[in-house]
């Protein structure tokens, strides 16, 4: 719907006039969100100087990291006109399993923790993807069922035994608090994933297929795109990223109980929608979604720092979400009108 999908660079695009390309960057959703982040940041700092302190900024980035990571996977799924509501439960159960593995094997190397998280998440993603593609059933229902099933399994597994920081090796926890040049390691890790995903989604043919499937499933099928395989892969990646998020959850909080990851599904979908990904597929970028996760967290923290009652954050986040959707709609209507009038002006182009 919106034009911010950043079409693959073709020979023609390198010849587009500079003015037009600058205009494109300025109009992109990502720019708008980035500007909003800066505005909120400056406003909060003006109110409370401590907001710009290194410590506060680190907390800001860390707080947004987990949701941003999930938003990457969710974008890939939503672009194909599907949705994955089970991510919150997957984060919860993988976090617990990773924590449990460390508790039971204190000498386990750190990378194995990640491997377990990603692997387990991928298994859940694969099952969801299989059910959605083989049975051709709506992903909303399947992943809603998955949310309950996995949460139930998680509850049985936890059974009231909380994983506490003593069970998590120091090296693993370091990923959660260590910084490089003042930037949290965990954030850099998420940033790397976002950059890779953005590149893949922009330049890989199989990833462009995801947009085609979401724009028009029937046409994609006719064009010879292996839709089932692609949608399956999107769910697989979303699951694997949710598993990675679960492992990072352990590194960051070092404490896991049955409520870990609960309610994340709505936070993630909210970030993805604010980030300009059309809920009915076909358009949107992972960068926009990840930036929106950062924006939502910045607003959250800014309200706390400005000593506005923490009770306001939800209401403001909700209003912002509604505003973003309405704004999107008016934008796409305007573009559609302009395209129509252009078509009328020069037919032969």
């Amino acid at each position: 719907m919106t034009t911010s999908t950043s079409a693959p660079r073709s020979a023609a695009s390198s010849r587009t006039p500079l003015k037009q390309r600058v205009g494109g960057v300025l109009r992109a959703r990502e720019t708008g969100i980035a500007v909003l982040i800066v505005v909120v940041f400056v406003a909060a700092t003006a109110k409370n100087e401590a907001f710009a302190s290194a410590n506060s900024v680190q907390q800001l980035l860390l707080g947004a990291s987990l949701i941003a990571l999930l938003a990457v996977g969710q974008t890939m799924v939503i672009v194909t006109r599907n949705v994955d509501l089970s991510v919150g439960s997957v984060v919860g159960i993988t976090a617990y399993v990773v924590g449990m593995s460390f508790r039971d094997n204190p000498d386990m190397p750190v990378f194995l923790g990640f491997l377990i998280g990603i692997g387990l998440g991928a298994v859940f993603g694969a099952i969801t993807g299989m059910v959605v593609t083989v049975f051709r059933v709506p992903s909303l229902v399947v992943t809603l069922a998955g949310l309950y099933l996995i949460r139930g399994l998680d509850g049985l597994l936890v059974d009231g035994v909380i994983i506490n920081p003593q069970s998590i090796p120091r090296e693993f926890q370091r990923i959660g608090y260590e910084t490089v040049l003042g930037i949290p390691v965990l954030f850099l890790l998420v940033l790397a994933v976002v950059v890779i995903a953005a590149y893949v989604m922009r330049s890989f043919r199989s990833a462009r297929d995801l947009y085609a499937i979401g724009s028009n499933p029937a046409a994609a099928e006719l064009a010879g795109i292996p839709s089932e395989k692609r949608v399956f892969t999107a769910f697989l990646v979303s699951g694997a990223l949710a598993g990675l998020t679960g492992a990072l959850f352990v590194a960051l909080y070092a404490q896991v109980d049955v409520t870990a990851g609960r309610g994340y599904e709505f936070l993630v979908v909210a970030a993805v929608v604010v980030g300009g990904v059309a809920i009915f597929g076909g358009s949107g970028t992972v960068v926009g979604a990840a930036l929106a996760a950062l924006l939502l967290n910045t607003i959250d923290q800014a309200l706390v720092a400005s000593r506005v009652s923490g009770f306001w954050t939800d209401a403001i986040a909700g209003a912002l979400l509604l505003g973003a959707i309405a704004f999107d709609r008016s934008l796409s209507l305007r573009i559609a009108r302009r395209l129509r009038s252009q078509e009328g002006a020069h037919r032969d182009v």
Binding site: F135, T313, A315, G318
Partner: protein, 354 residues
Amino acid sequence: MSETVVRPEPARAQEPTPSYTGVDTTSKAWWKAGIRWESALVVLLLLTLVVGSTGSENFFTGTTFFFAGLNIGEIAIMALPLLMIVLIGEIDLSVAAMLALSGAVMGVLWQAGTPFGVAVAAALLTGLVGGALNGYLVAYLGLPSIAVTIGSLTLFRGIAQIILPNPTTTPFPSEVATLGVLPIPGTQVPYSLAVFTVLAVATAAFVHATPSGRSLYAIGLQPEAAEFAGIRVTRVRFGLFVLSGLLCSLAGVLFALKNSSASYSAGFGLELTVVAVVLFGGVSIFGGRGTVLGVVLSVAIVAVLQQALTQQQVQAEVQNIVTGFLLLISVLVPNTPAVWRRLRDRVRTPPTRT
């Protein structure tokens, strides 16, 4: 596999009955008409009753019935408008947040000394306004309902949190306080269940027996065609979201009475349960398919199951698993024949390309 052989058609009656896939207008063989999701639900309901009674001797008692009804009452009330919204191909995820918000409005006003009747009226008005907001954004601005109602779910609960940071402590007036916790005198029927029953009958009459109700199916199947057929699609969409807001606020009032206190966290996460109940009742998420009977049966099954599992002291986690499992089979089972045919065809048809 398409059939290529043209066979002479058997003689037919003068006017062939038109068949609309998805809408059951054609008469089928009697046994085929019996194969419906609702029949499966009846069997499941009987099964849950058997499971419940084997686990506890005191299962078939009025008390069991009362508590099963009390636990499901508000969910059941919210499921009815959601059924109609899903029928037209939309969704409302803000139902539980509206339950909390309207309860909070009532609680705040009551605590501030407003007469109880006024507080309840304000709560219902909140529902109307909130529903109108959703309806305006979805129907008149044409925004996707799933995104809109995720936004308003955050917004509604956020506002509830602002106006009522702490649960109310002032007891509700004694004449109404018992409404939430005691059955209708002389019976074992909780008030919320009685309200649901009346609403369910009204909904069934509306959806299945009035032209406006039938038009919901048309909108769900093909909105443009419905528009051309003279159905005021926009107005119906708007109206249903307003109705949903109103009934959810009613559920909110009952919920607060049941807990003897209003709280912004009331019914947290309940939206997914309500959606699950509706979908398990055989309502298609794509709209255009589903019956009130299916949803009522689904409500009954979930209520009985919850009660049975609680009586047998099964953990809440297992209840989650059962909910998820039920939801999954509700979409998998109807699709299985098609999947089976497709897989069989794939095996039989030699691959054309490698």
